[in-house]
Amino acid sequence: MDLKGMRAAAQMGLRARLERLGGTVTGQVWRLGYASRFLGYMVLHSGTAMRRFGLTMKEIYFAGVLSLVIILVSGLFVGMVLALQGYETLQRYGSSEALGVLVALSLVRELGPVVAGLLFASRAGSAITAEIGLMKATEQLSAMEMMAVDPIARVVAPRFWGGVLSMPLLAALFSAMGIFGGYLVGVQLIGVDAGAFWSQMQAAVDVRNDILNGVIKSLVFGVAVTWIAVFEGYDAPPTAEGVSRATTRTVVTSSLAILALDFVLTALMFTGGP
């Protein structure tokens, strides 16, 4: 009896574990589907955000303009560090003139979109989630529905478009500031020849292959981060704990999404064809 009972218990344990695994997977798939339908609904109901562009303007202000300081300062320092580190390695091979190429390509292709996206996720994404989550917790969204105002069209869509429009501009500013920082350290401080710095950079950086692909990357990251942020906010349990967890989840999920998408996009853009 004992053996039989133990086997039954083990089977129950296995069954419960499998059930839990299945439940987690279906839950995640369901959530992904919900998030996709949410995105579709939001894009379809963006009429208000476009017609009353002042609403979107205000969100560009909150997501973009207020992120300017952190983006510009980080860009400057990332560029300066790149120049210092790059010079150390390049001068061993006697090609310190290629410093401009190194700084510009790493910023325009990778660091600009990725680091600006990570900063944007923690600076603006978390704020969007917290704001929408709190509006839900304090029943402002329900109140809007009571007044026959669609909260997705009135509250969520402007924030989404504000973030999507801000992100490429922020990434471009980050790259430009980083290249300026690299110029400051490389040319002004270390003394790399200014002419070689710029001309080699211009010879190596391609407008379509490098700059346009960087802009596309930042646009994709902008959509991903803002989508995750508004969805987490809208989906947050209407409690203080729920909102705080949703905010944390926004930062973690969107950072992981940026890194994963960056790998996929880099694999598609910069390998295979020349």
Binding site: Y61, A172, L173, D210
Partner: protein, 158 residues
């Protein structure tokens, strides 16, 4: 925060962002030399292209006159066929020589064109007859070693 202040700051932000993009395109990239000008295509066969890549520059007297459009392998002559897009502004004689050269010691490879003396100019679809393949370092070293060995032999006989 009133409406016009927000509009002003958003305007500043968007202008700065577009300015940064313009800076990247003009000062960092080479939009100025990003020509959509008319080109004509000529072909050349090389026994060995070394590390030549598609979109590598084509230079004549050091000036970029075009880009490599395509590189194929010809299964009949066992040679590489390189298609080159040359800017229509630059006309070359029919007996122009195409060489695969390297910029610097370890730099990227490009095609150098040396104009001949023929009065007839190259047309779209023409093939360059005179070509010189890329220098492969291993072949160069082995040639050098063979020469050395050949030089050494007579001295032994003495």
């Amino acid at each position: 925060m009133n409406r016009s202040t927000i509009d002003l700051w958003v305007g500043v932000f968007v202008a700065a962002g577009l300015g940064a993009l313009l800076f990247l395109a003009l000062k960092v990239g080479n939009l100025a030399s990003f020509s959509t000008a008319q080109t004509y295509q000529v072909f050349a066969k090389f026994a060995n292209i070394g590390g030549l890549k598609v979109r590598a520059p084509i230079k004549s007297a050091g000036v970029v006159v075009g880009r490599v459009a395509d590189i194929r392998f010809d299964n009949e002559s066992y040679e590489a066929i390189v298609a080159m897009n040359v800017d229509s502004g630059f006309q070359f004689p029919r007996d122009t020589t195409a060489k695969i050269l390297t910029s610097g010691l370890l730099g990227e490879q490009y095609i150098g064109l040396e104009a001949g003396g023929d009065g007839v100019m190259l047309k779209h679809g023409d093939r360059l007859r005179l070509t010189q393949s890329a220098v492969v370092l291993e072949n160069l070293i082995s040639q050098f070693l063979f020469n050395k060995a050949a030089e050494g032999k007579p001295e032994e006989k003495k």
